[in-house]
């Protein structure tokens, strides 16, 4: 498309537009509405619904506005008799086969077909023959189909091909026999599959968990920010009687565009799960008892005070990076008031050696990801970790960016890339070899040999207009995370690439800014040298920590553990002495700072379940009970103002000062555990989202090894293996998985059955059980 501007006239109004732009875009820009079904601004033009027909002067027939490029002097009429007749004709044809089931259709009230029919439909149907009926298909637990309603716009098919990057749905058959479906019985498994509900202009594809739960006009819409990955996707919550009925994307071109990942869309189901903690609990003589808030808060305050015994260092707080800025800030302030600096959020990190960035972040705006020309990604699976960041990277790849992954796993990606799959220890060698390719000589770089592929990557990073070196959650969980940071920094610096992190959680970046990691606690140290009192916020010890075995022991030893939690779970029941019911996603106000350092605040929308209360309020009152000064905020905004004042414009930064010659903690020999986090196990809320847990992405704890490794150990598919890590053991089923490199065992974290095991990444032994 050229930058040349042309002047056209639409309905008598003069409009300036880029030459070659499509008429429908120009009209949208000018605020002139043209009806449409198949056109979608993010998808390719197919021009098959014919609803957007308009009259163009000097053209004898109506033209589809979505597929007509503008020319200088073009005169367009969208309301002329020719245009309106054409649109009405199209509407009549579209309605021939469309059932009149609006009263029982979930789309009723928010249906593009209904809306357009009001404007262009006739009140009488002239068609008297039989209507077409299409059998519904089961395409999985997330999306319900009612294919008789389909008007064959193919938006869902194009979404799969162009956005999700996997062609799962198709249009089979011809003419009246054309059907949307998978042809063979198959679920739609993309991590972005829920978006086909939004793009569907009729009620053909609707949300399965939301089905028949509410009518569109009964719902109240509130804004929020998604609570899982570090994207900070903007969402609308739809509530009825104070209960969240569904979550849909809120358009924000700079963040999530108009899309939403399935995790962000369906996790709301977790809010209403059966094991939701709705009343304060205090452990008395080993038994949990429901108490009122006053008693619980006093028990918490007295317990913490007694545990500290006047020595602040005996207290520590572990806060989930899914907590809001306000929660983390008040937790930090509470601890400081009791004389402790021991707060940390890096729950899935194992290596805390100095020199790693204090306040790591993406290093660029989210939209800049798609402008990259060369990207090196280490220890990450963005498609699972941050699905929409993955989508941005896919866009870069489709524009021709070269993307290289260094991972301990072969990923299933939806674009072409180079994947260098190696053992966790080998990841450092690969990265160092890229450094060697850039003629670096320091530390372990000097000992490696750069092969052609390393040199080629080094050159492409150097020569690219925009390049980035990005670390992911598997790099942070690596026993040599500091070395990875050091090497990545060296590569980025000498190639001119931007160094960045793909943070795992909604508020990882913000938590880093508050916790000032270097000066405060380090999770590993806080657990290795058990403190007497712990404050846990929004986490489950056996599932959300890098080393659950270590954590279990520390909490056993502790005199007193207070947990702020939205849910009950075995490991929390075992660890805690007081459990305070926490308001969760949608119920609390707060602020998340996303990967790109954008501060996004949101208000509470739903009524907290039972006696649950927003975290900032719980911590504020706990501060009052402990008689610590500075806990008199009346609302979340005051807490935020305090944070902003205190941080005084401090920005995240990826400043690395690591000598790349440090001791290697990941043994190069022997079996290595790969403990990545499954997409739908990442935090307490999503683990309880029932529909997501029914998808193919749900996994049970298992030992995944490749066939060769299995043969060497005498293990086979379906058998059981005894996994030993330190003094922790677990017996798990064996799954043969060729995406795992030799001598590695993929034993994923955050799954029931792995709680007795140690660090997510580290040495492990397998024997036949």
């Amino acid at each position: 498309m050229s930058e040349q501007l042309v002047t056209i006239e639409i309905d008598g109004r003069e409009v300036k537009a880029k030459a070659g732009a499509m008429l429908i875009d120009v009209a949208d820009e000018a605020g002139i509405h043209i009806p449409r079904f198949c056109y979608h601004k993010k998808l390719s033009v197919s021009a098959n619904c014919r609803m957007c027909l308009v009259e163009v002067e000097k053209v004898p027939r109506p033209l589809p506005a979505c597929a007509t490029p503008v020319n200088d002097g073009m005169k367009v009429k969208t309301q002329s008799p020719l245009a309106v007749t054409a649109q009405q004709g199209t509407m009549e044809f579209l309605l021939i086969n469309h059932p009149l089931d609006c009263p029982i259709c979930d789309q009723g009230g928010e249906c593009e077909l209904q809306d357009v029919a009001v404007g262009y439909g006739s009140d009488v149907c002239r068609y008297v023959e039989g209507k077409r009926v299409v059998a519904d298909k089961n395409i999985g637990p997330l999306v319900a189909t009612d294919l008789t309603r389909c008007i064959q716009c193919t938006r869902c098919v194009r979404f799969g091909a162009e956005i999700a990057g996997v062609r799962e749905l198709g249009a089979t058959g011809r003419g009246e026999h054309m059907q949307i479906g998978t042809y063979i019985e198959k679920s739609v498994d993309s991590e972005l599959s829920g978006n086909i509900i939004d793009v569907c202009p009729v009620g053909s594809l609707t949300s399965k968990p939301f089905r028949f739960r509410a009518r569109a006009w009964e719902l109240v819409q509130r804004d929020a920010v998604a609570p899982h990955d570090s994207m900070g996707s903007n969402v609308h919550l739809h509530l009825r009687n104070g209960e969240i009925m569904r979550v849909v994307p809120k358009e924000n071109e700079a963040v999530n565009e108009c899309w939403l990942s399935d995790r962000d869309r369906y996790s709301y189901q977790g809010i209403y799960s059966e094991d939701r903690l709705t009343k304060p609990l205090v452990k008395k003589d080993g038994e949990w008892q429901e108490v009122d808030w006053k008693e619980a808060l006093e028990a918490a305050a007295n317990g913490l005070k007694a545990a500290a015994g006047g020595d602040g260092d005996q207290l520590a707080a572990l806060v989930s990076p899914n907590s809001t800025q306000e929660e983390i800030w008040l937790a930090k302030k509470l601890l400081q008031g009791m004389g402790s600096d021991n707060i940390d959020y890096r729950l899935r990190q194992g290596d805390f050696r100095p020199g790693q960035p204090d306040r790591p972040w993406l290093g660029m705006a989210i939209a800049e990801l798609e402008e990259l020309d060369a990207v090196l990604i280490i220890g990450a699976n963005p498609r699972q970790d941050q699905p929409l960041l993955g989508h941005r990277l896919r866009k870069a790849a489709m524009k021709g960016a070269t993307i290289t992954y260094i991972n301990p796993l072969q990923l299933v990606l939806n674009y072409r890339s180079s994947q260098w799959v190696t053992t966790p220890a080998g990841m450092l060698e690969e990265l160092a070899a890229v450094g060697k390719g850039l003629n670096l000589r320091r530390g372990i770089i000097a000992q490696t040999k750069a092969e052609d592929r390393h040199k080629a990557l080094a050159a492409s990073l150097k020569e690219a207009g925009k390049a980035a070196v990005l670390l992911g959650p598997m790099a942070l969980a690596h026993p040599d995370a500091s070395m990875i940071w050091g090497l990545a920094d060296a590569v980025a610096e000498s190639s001119g690439a931007t160094l960045g992190l793909l943070p795992e959680a909604a508020n990882s970046t913000g938590a880093g800014m508050i916790c000032e990691a270097e000066n405060n606690g380090k999770v590993r140290e806080l657990l290795e040298n058990p403190r007497k009192g712990y404050l846990l916020c929004n986490l489950e010890p056996s599932l959300d920590l890098h080393d659950p075995a270590l954590a279990g022991k520390a909490f056993d030893k502790a005199e007193f553990v207070v947990a702020l939690s939205a849910f009950r779970g075995d490991s929390l029941d075992a660890a805690a002495d007081v459990q305070l019911p926490l308001a969760t996603f949608g119920e609390t106000s707060g602020t998340f700072v996303n990967a790109a350092g954008d501060w996004q605040s949101f208000a509470g929308a739903a009524k907290p379940l039972g006696e649950a209360r927003p975290g900032w309020k719980i911590l504020r009152v706990l501060g009052n009970v402990l008689e610590i000064s500075g806990f008199d905020q009346d609302d979340c905004g005051q807490v935020l103002a305090e944070i902003e004042e205190s941080l005084a414009g401090r920005k995240p930064e990826n400043k690395v000062k690591v000598d790349v010659n440090e001791e290697r903690w990941m043994p190069a020999e022997g079996m290595a555990r790969i403990g990545d986090v499954p997409i739908y196990a990442a935090d307490p809320l999503v683990r309880r989202a029932s529909a997501l847990q029914e998808t193919v992405h749900h996994v049970e704890a298992a030992v995944r090894i490749n066939a060769e490794t299995a043969k060497g150990l005498g293990l086979e598919e379906g058998g059981q293996a005894l996994v030993s890590q330190g003094d922790g053991q677990a017996t798990l089923p064996v799954v043969i998985d060729e995406t795992v490199p030799a001598n590695c065992a993929r034993v994923q974290s955050a799954l029931a059955g792995t709680e007795k095991l140690g660090a997510a990444f580290g040495a492990v032994t397998l024997t036949k059980a």
Binding site: L43, S44, V45, S46, R158, A161, E162, G165, V166, R167, E168, L169, G170, A171, T172, G173, R174, T182, Y183, I184, M398, L413, N414, Y415, R416
Partner: protein, 176 residues
């Protein structure tokens, strides 16, 4: 940029194409692939399906369509779309001789209903069915472009025009 302007090629190319089909079938498909620009091997999907169908007794199984998809590095659903769109691909078993009877306007005016009725009576099957011995199957088709010789039918690659019931008997009797 849409999936029409660039090939929707699978991210991971099929590693072992030598295990798909026979060397002869592969050679026949390869002849078509080289007619298209590099990276556009999926443009050969129609001839590939035709060749595979021919070698499978005139019809396609889902497995064969999956193999075609794998051989051309394209998503299986895209092959299903093509195979279900065009009427010359058969997704159910057909007889050794597939009798395609045109029932479109010219043929209908010239008596295709009678031809159809005669065939049904003679073979004991109707459109979409196969005789028990697997020798014949009947299919209703749209205009085959032989209106000058209406009513007409196609069996295999042959056109038979100006049909009468007697003529039909003679033709069928002459088939193996």
């Amino acid at each position: 940029m849409g999936f029409k302007s660039q090939p929707m090629t699978n991210v991971v190319e099929t590693p072992d194409k030598g295990s798909l089909f026979t060397p002869e079938i592969r050679a026949r498909i390869d002849k078509w692939i080289v007619k298209y620009p590099e990276g556009w091997q999926q443009s050969a999907v129609m001839p590939a399906l035709r060749i595979v169908q021919e070698e499978n007794g005139g019809w396609l199984t889902t497995e064969l369509m999956d193999d075609v998809a794998a051989y051309l590095d394209m998503p299986a659903i895209a092959v299903y779309e093509v195979a279900t769109f065009y009427s010359m691909y058969e997704l159910k078993p057909v007889g050794r001789h597939k009798i395609c009877v045109c029932t479109n306007v010219s043929c209908m005016i010239n008596g295709s209903d009678g031809i159809r009725g005669h065939l049904e009576k003679k073979l004991g099957i109707t459109f979409g069915q196969v005789t028990e011995d697997g020798k014949f199957s009947m299919k209703e088709v749209e205009c085959l472009g032989a209106c000058g010789g209406a009513p007409m039918m196609q069996i295999g690659k042959e056109y038979y025009e100006n049909l009468t019931p007697d003529e039909v008997d003679r033709i069928l009797d002459g088939l193996e």
